[in-house]
């Protein structure tokens, strides 16, 4: 009997994005969640690039607004039920926001600090709301959401630091704008794909 048990344990299984990964704790599952959801990566990278491009020191409030937004979104998501309809709308909203912010990176125009704060807050709320994992319940869901919030904050730092470090030479500034155009292009294509059946 134990031999059968060993054989069953050896059976391969697959890991799926946007769902808990077996073998990891809830916190680390949450940490990895934004990494496995490309739409989240696009939005975080676009926002990070924009804040870095506009100047981190002058826009610290936008980072705080983003953190507040993620926390608000995660708290709301943790408290309510996970419904397929609103989750699909959230995915659309994340992609539209990512595309809009990425286009602002491409345009590279000076933006008011308050507007950047608003973008940080709305982007954070969307990411927090969309970080909920339907398969998890109760404490496990809250722990995973906390992990996702930590990861969403850490992920913002990389593109932000990159864009600020690149703000020293015209060539490097162009590089940031090119990355912005890639993000906008990817988001637009997938938006078209999501909306295609209704078109």
């Amino acid at each position: 009997m134990w031999r059968v048990a060993i054989l069953l344990l050896a059976l391969p299984t697959s890991a799926w994005a946007h769902s808990p990964i077996e073998g990891l704790g809830d916190f680390f599952n949450g940490i990895l969640h934004p990494v496995f959801v490309p739409a989240h990566l696009l939005l975080v990278f676009a926002l990070g690039l924009l804040i870095g491009q506009q100047g981190v020191q002058a826009n610290l409030n936008a980072i705080w607004a983003y953190l507040l937004g993620v926390a608000m979104g995660a708290v709301i998501a943790g408290a309510g039920p996970v419904l397929p309809g609103p989750m699909a709308l959230l995915e659309l909203a994340v992609l539209v926001t990512a595309m809009g912010i990425a286009l602002l990176v491409v345009l590279a125009v000076r933006l008011p600090s308050a507007f950047l704060m608003l973008l940080g807050l709305s982007g954070g709320v969307l990411l927090g709301l969309d970080s909920v994992q339907a398969e998890l319940q109760g404490t496990a869901r809250h722990v995973a959401l906390f992990g996702s919030a930590v990861a969403l904050y850490l992920l913002l730092l990389y593109p932000m630091a990159l864009a600020e470090r690149f703000d020293v030479h015209p060539w490097l500034r162009v590089g940031v704008r090119i990355i912005g155009s890639w993000i906008a292009a990817s988001a637009l294509l997938v938006l078209a794909l999501l909306l295609a059946p209704a078109a």
Binding site: P38, W182, A185
Partner: protein, 191 residues
């Protein structure tokens, strides 16, 4: 016991992934490889970068920014199933026209250069866009092919920067001629 061990080892093998777009990584990998596996795409992307570098500022950075954005318009048409006539011909023509622009050192006004590049970007985007719905992870696929396209542009830009020196200028123009020839070969059905 020996049979048990053999059975155990067989079961340890993971699911077959060959030629399949398995999940997120498969979608990104497939997207990354899609432009690289078609020589007609590769040469046209290189030509965009080459021409941008040849034209100098602002074309050197404007064309690689404009191309992926306009390419998405073609991609959207492909996803929505709106037919565009002679897509493959358009892609082959893009290699010929852009290659000739470099080979003949044509320097049109910036808006004209951007319009030419944008026109051909639609054909390339359409070809990628029709592949998107079949992808395991469309967003990862699109991100892969957009990044791959951009990196090919940058490769063209890097080679095109040789045009700053007289010897390099000849090399860049010869590169443009070669790209045009590849386009002719595709148009004639030789490749």
């Amino acid at each position: 016991m020996r049979y048990l061990l053999i059975s155990f080892l067989f079961l340890l093998s993971n699911t077959a992934q060959a030629h399949a777009e398995g999940g997120l990584a498969g979608g990104f990998g497939s997207g990354l490889l899609h432009p690289v596996l078609g020589l007609d795409h590769v040469v046209a992307m290189l030509a965009v970068g080459l021409w941008g570098a040849f034209l100098g500022n602002p074309a050197i950075w404007l064309l690689p920014v404009v191309f992926p954005l306009v390419m998405t318009v073609g991609g959207v048409l492909g996803i929505l199933g709106i037919p565009i006539p002679a897509v493959e011909t358009g892609i082959a023509l893009s290699a010929i026209v852009l290659g000739l622009m470099v080979a003949l050192a044509v320097r049109p006004a910036m808006p004209v250069a951007a319009m030419i590049v944008a026109l051909f970007a639609i054909f390339h985007g359409y070809a990628h866009g029709t592949e998107l719905p079949a992808s395991a992870s469309p967003l990862a696929f699109s991100l892969g092919f957009v990044i791959s396209t951009g990196l090919l542009h940058l490769l063209g830009v890097a080679f095109g920067l040789l045009a700053r020196w007289p010897v390099g200028r000849g090399l860049v123009r010869a590169g443009g001629g070669l790209i045009a020839l590849v386009g002719v070969a595709y148009l004639g059905g030789l490749l």
